[in-house]
Amino acid sequence: MSQITLPWIEKSPETLSGYRRKAILLLFVLAVGHLGIALVSLFAFKPGQLADWKIPFVLALVLGASLAGMAFTAGAFGVVFYRIIGKFLRWSYVAFALFLGGVVGACLIVWLHAEIFTFIKGLSAAEGEHRVWLLAVPYDHTVRNIYAGLEAIGVEVPVLAYALWPLQFEFIRDLVALGGIIGFISIIPAFGIWWERKVSARIQSRMGPMRVGGWHGWLQSPADGLKLIFKEDIIPPEGDPLLFRLAVYITFVPPICAFLALPFAAAWVFRDLDVALIFILAMLGIEVVGVILAGWASNNKWAVYGSMREACQMVSYEIPMGMSLLIPIMMAGSLKLTDIAGAQAGGFWNWFVFANPWCFIAFFTYYCAALASCKRAPFDLPESESELVAGFLTEYSGFRWSLFFFGEYAAMFIVAGLAVILFLGGWSSPIPEAWINSFLTAVGASPDGFFGTLARGLLAGGPIIFVLKATFLFYVQLWVRWTLPRVRIDQVLYACVQVMLPLVMVLLLANTLWILGTDHLQWGWLNVIDGILHWILVGIGVIVALAILCIALYGFKNNKRLVGQLAVVDQLPGS
């Protein structure tokens, strides 16, 4: 097949509008049909009449059909009003609403899910222990039971009882939570790649993507993703095709697994492992295997160079990274991330980064090593596109190539999130909760009222604060990438093994002795020095934060002006 023609590309406008009419008709018919099925099923079933094993099918009939019906209706309206929708998508608010709404909406869904689960758990215990087809676990509630519980709070909707019934199983609950995690991971690269392109454009005094989607090209990443899916999938026949395919998944899956143990707030974690920190580090380590295999299986000298660099780099950065993380662990006395973050609550001066000078330096050594672990500039040697074509990615194309980037952006968020939890107070707000409460009472709003709860949820700590902090560190990764030149591989090895490793060892030892002196032996003079240094570091932190804010404000005010002068102008002949 030498030429590919799309079926609609050479049709006259009349034929096209005919297609459109047919599509609208088909979608509407499907929608009405599904809604009909859903309505009939809704009135046909009442709680307590069904054997429990039939419930999944009833749910599929009622909820599945109504959801499908709504989707078809939306599709039909989309085809009808596509011109108006196209205009609407150009507004900047839409992009903002989608990006923010994605995160906030995901948070709300998880919260609702948790509330529903608590509700079901709180219902009165049921008659004995049953075994259910499909899920061989003991369960407590029958549909009648849940319906009775719903009636008690004044909600008399039978379908809701059916819909809530599966949520009592841990298995189903985990599936919903995993859906939330995967949704979040899909938002990160889509947003991150667009943001990276805009940040790089801003740093290089250009505009970046401006066309796709309207406002500042906000639809660029989904459009790129669509393009990548349609690209030809090339597998080098001289390489190892099996490993070539496998390497993608070994790189892509571990960062997603790491999200299973990453807490977004005190209760917002999929599994609160007592070894969460080592688990996440292990996942980041396995990712490297995938990168090495990708380069090896490509059978391309640039790819092998890239993966050898990755292996060298990994051997050198991983030790300083792990050892810098030991310092906050020592401060908190736990490997559980929720405990570590909980130990830093109550104001930004309690954050471990300001606790003592050793922690302060360890934050920076960790962040440098984390840059290397995400293959981000100035340590993007495995991929260095100006020397090695594309490094380990040279032979990859299409969707496999994009999966590598999904993994990379997910890992960037993971290391930023780890830095936030270990050094920057996790999800706790910079302002202590007591201040917010007293402010609310001073304004006249009750801390437990609607606005009080909202304000405390937003300001006093929670997933949104965590995501904001992690996003800032994510942004710093972009900022560093477009500011610093790439270092050579021998410089990376030298810096990691001969500079950072001894430094981190000294920090570790000093921190151990420091904690011994201040917390256990209670030396008075050391405690005084500790207090002074602590407040000096807090002062440095405040000054740096204010300076960044001022610079950002200056940049925002002058965003239409080029930075500096065009030096070339003076040297042009005749100028």
Binding site: A136, V137, F171, D240, L242, L243, L246, I250, L273, D274, V275, I278, F279, L281, A282, M283, L284, G285, I286, V288, V289, I292, L293, W296, A297, N299, V304, S307, M308, A311, C312, M314, V315, E318, G333, S334, L335
Partner: protein, 164 residues
């Protein structure tokens, strides 16, 4: 659920272990090793031995495996190294395999499983407890192991040093 998970992960570990032996391509063997290590780590997770599982992942799957693949890539002469075992090697391998099989089956058959089945651990020891045990009851083995690692490191550094 736990039974199902056990069978899945056991199957993954076993199949990858067969893959290690059966594959003549050394890099594919290394990848199969990743499957075995990961499968065993997942079995540890199923058994609620989180610390062991995570250490398995970070030390073997994350660290050692990378070093092994790295070594293969740096030392192999052609990109696709295959190896053929000589008769002596096969004989030695069979001998070792038989010894291992006899030893493990003796252990499995003579162990008193009923005791542990009657009184299973309610909760697995936490990381803090493991750490405390390592530094109190099992301090000598722990220190001996660390001295061994130190000796290995010095030896490796000595071997790798270029003569001047």
């Amino acid at each position: 659920m736990d039974d199902l998970a056990f069978y899945i992960f056991a199957a993954v570990s076993l199949l990858s272990a067969i893959g290690i032996v059966a594959s003549s391509n050394i890099v594919r063997s290394a990848v199969c090793l990743l499957g075995t290590l990961g499968g065993v780590a997942c079995l540890y997770f199923v058994l609620d031995a989180n610390l062991l599982a995570v250490i398995q992942l970070i030390v073997y799957a994350g660290g050692t495996l990378v070093l092994m693949v790295f070594g293969i890539m740096l030392t192999s002469k052609s990109p696709w190294v295959g190896f053929r075992a000589t008769r002596g090697q096969v004989a030695g391998a069979v001998l070792v395999a038989i010894l291992m099989a006899v030893g493990i089956s003796t252990l499995v058959l003579t162990a008193e499983w009923s005791q542990s089945a009657n009184a299973p651990l309610k909760t697995s020891p936490s990381v803090a407890e493991v750490g405390e045990m390592l530094l109190t009851d099992y301090l000598v083995p722990f220190e001996v192991a660390s001295v061994l690692l130190l000796v290995v490191m010095i030896g490796a550094a000595y071997l790798a040093r270029t003569e001047k």
